[in-house]
């Protein structure tokens, strides 16, 4: 039968300079099916085909710097084709500025400090280097999560625009895992950064045994 209807599932840009879209194929109708992505820019009638199906892997289309414009909407459609014919996805309108999902924060550092005999963790990080926060134009907000190695539950803290955060609610000594992520004002949370580990000595036993 004709191929099932494909669906454009996601488009993301890491830094408003390039972007990638992914699609979900429909049923293949039992016949060899090929997929193509077509797009038209706002107030232009010219239809273009995806410039690069490979860079971002299977069922994806990558738009490099020259193909990416932050000034116009992209009207995007995916087409599934087999020997019996073609089936079109619903078209999706994409504005690159609103699909930004930055890379995770970098240089996450954790130090154990003490305040009136109590340990706390000072976590600091840097924005992803590609995000142009120098000028103060793009504002990123951050979130961090911490948990003891042997536990399952993460404790999440919103850090606003800060690039450092103190965690006081330490329950006991042990190995703590810390991750940080970020989000631009219009956009999506990044993935969590790689995990930072830190050892907190056992203050608490000593406190109670005294």
């Amino acid at each position: 039968s004709l191929p099932g209807k494909p669906a454009l599932t996601r488009c993301r840009s890491p830094e408003k300079e390039t972007f990638t879209c992914w699609w979900e194929p429909g049923s293949d109708g039992g016949l060899p099916t090929t997929y193509a992505l077509y797009y038209r820019k706002e107030n232009s009638e010219t239809v273009h085909e995806c410039p690069d199906y490979r860079t971002a892997g299977k069922n994806s289309c990558f738009f490099n710097k020259n193909d990416t414009s932050i000034w116009v909407n992209y009207n995007i459609t995916v087409v599934a084709t087999n020997s019996l014919g073609s089936t079109f996805s619903d078209p999706v309108d994409v504005d690159v500025v609103y699909i930004v999902k930055p890379n995770p924060p970098e240089k996450v550092a954790v130090t154990v400090l003490e305040d009136k005999g109590w340990p706390f963790l000072r976590v600091s990080w840097e924005p992803p280097h590609k995000a142009d926060t120098r000028s103060g134009w793009i504002t990123l907000i951050y979130e961090l999560r911490v948990k003891l190695e042997k536990e399952d539950e993460w404790e999440v803290h919103l850090a606003g625009q800060q690039k450092m955060f103190n965690i006081f609610s330490l329950r006991s000594g042990g190995t703590y895992l810390i991750q940080v992520r970020c989000k631009p004002d219009h956009g999506f949370w990044s993935e969590w950064s790689s995990t930072s580990y830190t050892e907190v000595p056992d203050y608490f036993q000593r406190e109670r045994s005294v």
């Binding site: 000034w71 000028s135 134009w137």
Partner: protein, 187 residues
């Protein structure tokens, strides 16, 4: 919405001017501050014939379409000279030559992207905004034969771009705030 596009445009123009400032500082780093000869200005900037406001009062009286037209005219006037700066950067007698080359390349990319945006914006802001004054660059296709004149002319051309990119940035920020009814917090 125009306000949105203007905010994006002024972010790009901010970046463009910041880049030109970094480039000027990179270039200056080579000239010993003590004996620094005040760089001769071989001529007037090729865009100086364009009448632009010279203080806040004048600038705030210029209409939206004229502000955009000024910004577009200045930006388009730099397409050729930026290409000249780019080709000359490869053989610039300066220790920071390769960094300068890369930054000029980024300058051209940002300039092109901003130009695309202003073209689209002018399409949405009426015929007056589409008017562009032609400011041809008549400085020839190279910056001179000997090392010193090449450095002087490179530095002079860059100082002109730095000033014009500041004008473009200022005009777009005034425009962006006029249109910022959607985001008053930013102005």
């Amino acid at each position: 919405p125009i306000g949105d596009l203007l905010e994006r445009a002024s972010q790009r123009s901010d970046r463009l001017h910041a880049l030109s400032t970094m480039l000027s500082q990179e270039l200056d780093s080579h000239f010993p501050p003590i004996g620094r000869v005040i760089m001769p200005r071989p001529a007037m900037c090729h865009t100086s014939s364009l009448q632009t406001p010279n203080d806040k009062e004048q600038a705030l009286q210029v209409s939206e379409s004229d502000l955009l037209s000024l910004a577009r005219s200045l930006l388009q006037a730099w397409a050729d000279p930026l290409l000249l700066l780019s080709t000359s950067a490869n053989t610039l007698p300066h220790p920071g030559q390769s960094r300068i080359s890369n930054k000029i390349q980024e300058l051209r990319e940002q300039s092109k992207s901003l130009g695309d945006g202003l073209d689209i914006l002018s399409g949405k802001m009426g015929p007056d905004a589409r008017a562009v004054s032609l400011l041809p660059y008549r400085g020839g296709s190279d910056l001179g034969q000997d090392k010193i004149s090449r450095l002087i002319n490179f530095n002079f051309l860059l100082s002109c771009f730095r000033r014009d990119s500041h004008k473009i940035d200022s005009f777009l920020k005034v425009l962006s705030c006029r249109a910022a009814k959607t985001n008053p917090q930013m102005c």
